[in-house]
Subunit: 467 residues, 3 copies
């Protein structure tokens, strides 16, 4: 067995038993995956996955960044180059590099996720290493050719009740359309991600806005037409199940400008004349506009700020975005969110879900804000913090001020489809451990803990995201 | 029983036993409450408290902010409006809302404090819930009509050796006078809180200064007269037992200006001509002036910086200050305190007690500063951090660099009178757990731990605050 | 016995056993001390140490800062004054003050280090206190007169395989020369510390550069000559075993200017015309130059930023540098390191080791950076964080993202020679505890843990520093 059945539980025997009991109560609950980046095409076409390397190594930035940090070129892992030059194509070679260096992942969440995938999805029972690489490759490769390992079959095996993908505001949602038309019963919804038409610094911003206008049949080059186009696209996304919008800005800055100020910034942005500060201001204002639209259409507003993207210019030039060089940076929320929260934070029917990459804000800013503003909830630990220690710190730092009911359960935020059960399992285990510790230290009684456990594993996500 | 007798102790049985032994040694020590916000009128008049809702719900910002965060209007909790419009008046209805939503407080310190009050003060033994709300209300209401539940009786029952309230520099201290005249033996002292006459941005600053001048029989509109008026008021406060001043500034900024610069800022402040930056500078300078006065009169200087007050303009407009919308913000100490510490930080007979709402400064800034400057001590975890996890983080992050003897024990900082024993009990338990862990991991021997335990629970507060 | 043989191990009996087993596997490994501040003169001359106070109290800023924080003047501890006025000269009196106040160190790392030195180096078995002070003084003093307590004998007894001292770029390395000439087999290498010739704000910068030029036989007053002089001095340091350079800048700022911009800043710096901002920019640029030289000569680049030095002007004036008044400050890495990392961060043969005094950057900035840039590694917890809690926080916050193999083992960073075994012992115990917890919570298997344990205690430091 690769996995310890008591993994992530407290070490004290009595507290461990409490944790295990709580965990057993939620282990088999359906998965609600309200925020993530799986590819809807998988579920639309339901084709077999390519090979073990393409499934588990090459597209997983947690994996390739760690290998790269020890000097392995991204080319050797098959990561495609922006300039189209050749990279390693042989999945067996890529897999072997991964296996040779699997010790690098000791004590990282990737290790638990991969071991979980190997054991629970593919039935592997020997540790991945240089010596077992080929045998495990062959075994997974063989699995992938079977119907039971096609995307829809795995979706069902994983017991996913609902999953949200994330699409650009100017996506045509054709894969979601194809899923719907297929008659398949799996609940795969989209989420409205308008960065490409909200961020003046996004590649092709003006063209993107133009395209959005065409798709929405609005003149999106005027401020009012632009807002109308957003409303139209949001409605279109809702027709494919969207219950949320998602916004990945460099900072948490929000603004609530008068319409003429906003319109003026928008004009500048379209002309490509925004300074960096004006671009930031415009993004900030658009969060408030999005929230106002949410008051009408009910989409949950998700804010994912604080990543300093593409830190290495060389890697960005050679390989493009999302290559592991996105680094969290210090993020202010108290001042930054004030315009948004003063505009709409008191609305009890609005849900704004905040994420952070700056853990120092959990106890200092986020829990105090979520613990008073009716519209505000805290998303689960995100990205680099989606791990045992990260989740535990979140609970320890946020709960005393925000309680459990200003949080929204777990989401996996992943495009590594096979890791979804692993990630939810980790979250359920960590929460069970946290709750067991509360019981054992007299801070919660056992009956309550079972209720909270169910809420954290299932109900809160379903409710917050209206799924 | 609502309370687990082993609550907040470590889970390992041997370490738990160590903690319990330490705790038993300090559990019944008298309470030193050197900083708080109880109303001296209670002890002066010694009238019965109104009703359970007025006692435990409506005035407690920890309670109403959490309820409000889930969409319950402040009106429904009886929180008075600034515009005088009607709010809920029926204490039974307010209590019912509280009880209906008591699950929101799971794993928060409020839950432990309220359960402690219910069980230890009022003898309630069933959990508060929608179903028990009325019975518990009736029971508490009945208690409140008895002499044993009047303020002075509770003061004695709580075993309070000394308590400090906090009054504005322009308060006439009539309730303190009335307490003294009453002949009652309870030690209730005041503390000098001059924000209203130090902060140029405080409502009615110039009028407040004018009033201070009148009370002190000085022309407080001149810089020298203003300083003299402070000295006079401090002496007046000392005559009612004050041993400390207290300063709640937005930042930890200090300055040590030449007299003409300070006088010029003061003139501007009086005229209402200060920019925000000048107001901040003036507040900063006044901390150094206060410290200089402390060198003469021995008052302990407390600095409570870093709260961004009244974050919601709507709530401030409708309900006024202190309505749960005060949010901690990132606070710098290293640069900010330099002028003050360079002026007086080397004085061994001066005590400056620092608090923070920014836990990231414990290990990085506060412990290193308190671990070297003779005048500097660290206050206990404050406000949002006055909790099991918050206290444990403080000990874990501050002790290795500042030791125990640059800290000042616990203070409850509360206006929730009945929660005072609960809060001190939590502190004593957490410290017992921390010390027990030190013993069990070979970092302290048991004899020493008992001495430290006594110091943390009783002696350090008494000594630091000269009570 | 002063020391608990199970100190710093987890409290749960099974986890404790795991930790102890891991610890026993590394306890007796040779010490690699790749970064520190011992005086090479000790090993060159091999003279007996002066007395217990000079050995353990007066030069140790951890010790005298804590005593000072409680009002004991530095003079009373024998700390020499910059103005040459008399300070306490009697080592017995100094020792007595230390012993009288030994309780101040409870739960600090100094306590563990001193107890370890007393017991393991000098065979003391009674606790230091006012009452035992004289007896312990006499005992240590007696030891110091014996050959077995001379520097080289202790070096060997401590099982030091290699130690690095740190010398200024303009040091003549005469003590290192004398060590080499002596034929003694102890491996004592130097490290290249060029702050005095890189920091325009360093006392005597221009003279220092002049001197460097003379030593290197280059005209160091020109930009090209200055760089050539660095290369020359680095080669000279390498000839005395240096494998690293070390840089203690106020911030982590780096720059990568065009040569003419850098040359222009250098000219200003030499003329003493740099603004503070320009001085910071020049220091930042020189880190990148140093890294480029490292590509050629293989020296490991160590960056130690974030200390706000000499916080008290009085103490600096009276006693000079390094008197405990260096306070950590908030440090940005994401933006600050971008120029350096964009220039050389992708080089797999370069090693840049980052340290921090700002723990909030571990999970947010440092682990994500080290977890992707091939050249970057994380140094161990430094200075105020070189302690049980500090080390545990480092592992908990950095490992999940950076793994173990982007860290470089432990270094003691000390001039307190006798404490070196104590410090390495603490690190080995803490890492054993961390690893045992990983095993017990199913995050690492036991075989792997033994391998990692060896790596953390020995191999990683040796490999990263090329010792």
């Amino acid at each position: 067995m690769l996995l310890d059945e008591n993994r992530l539980f407290p070490t004290d025997p009595k507290v461990r038993d409490l944790a295990r009991t709580l965990y057993e109560g939620v282990r088999d609950l359906p998965i609600i995956s309200p925020h993530g980046h799986t590819d809807p095409r998988w579920f639309a076409e339901n084709q077999p996955f390519d090979d073990p390397a393409q499934l588990l190594v090459t597209p997983d930035h947690y994996i390739f960044r760690m290998l790269h940090s020890q000097g392995i070129p991204l080319d050797a892992l098959g990561v495609p180059r922006a300039d189209g030059r050749a990279v390693e194509q042989d999945p067996r070679k890529i897999w072997q590099v991964f296996a040779d260096n699997y010790h690098l992942f000791r004590a990282t969440p990737s290790r638990i996720w991969v071991d979980h995938v190997l054991q629970e999805v593919f039935g592997v029972d020997q540790p991945l290493s240089a010596y077992t690489a080929t045998a495990i490759y062959d075994h997974i490769d063989d699995c992938l050719s079977k119907d039971g390992f096609r995307p829809r079959a795995l979706f069902e095996q994983f017991n996913i009740e609902a999953i949200s993908t994330t699409e650009s505001a100017i996506d045509d949602l054709k894969w979601h359309h194809m899923i719907r038309e297929s008659g398949w019963g799996g609940k795969v919804v989209t989420a409205y991600r308008p960065d490409a038409v909200i961020d003046p610094e996004f590649d092709g911003f003006a063209e993107n806005v133009q395209k959005m206008g065409e798709m929405a049949d609005e003149d999106a080059t005027t401020w009012q037409g632009y807002l109308a186009a957003h409303r139209n696209r949001r409605a279109f996304f809702k027709s494919y199940g969207a219950t949320s919008s998602d916004h990945g800005h460099p900072t948490a800055r929000t603004e609530d400008f008068a319409p003429d100020v906003a319109a003026n910034l928008f004009d500048k942005a379209l002309r490509g004349d925004c300074t960096a500060a004006e671009a930031d201001a415009f993004r900030g204002h658009m969060l408030t506009e999005m929230a106002r639209m949410s008051l009408d259409d009910g989409l949950v507003l998700q804010i994912h700020p604080g990543s300093s993207r593409n830190h290495s210019k060389d890697i960005f030039r050679l390989f493009g975005r999302d290559k592991g060089y996105d680094i969290p940076s210090r993020t202010d929320y108290v001042t930054a969110l004030k315009p948004l929260l003063n505009a709409v934070g008191g609305e009890p029917n609005l849900t704004i879900i905040l994420f952070t990459l700056d853990e120092s804000t959990y106890a200092r800013e986020l829990a105090p804000l979520a613990g008073v503003y009716p519209a505000l909830k805290l998303g689960p630990p995100w990205w680099f913090h989606d791990s045992y220690e990260g989740m535990m710190r979140f609970r320890e730092m946020a709960t005393e001020t925000a309680g459990f009911y200003n949080t929204v359960g777990f989401n996996d935020d992943t495009r590594a489809f096979c890791s979804i059960p692993a990630r939810h399992d980790v979250a359920r285990r960590v929460d069970s451990s946290f709750l067991a510790t509360l019981i054992a230290t007299g801070r919660l009684n056992e009956n309550e803990a079972h209720e909270v456990s169910y809420d954290l594993a299932y109900r809160l996500a379903k409710q917050a995201y209206r799924l």
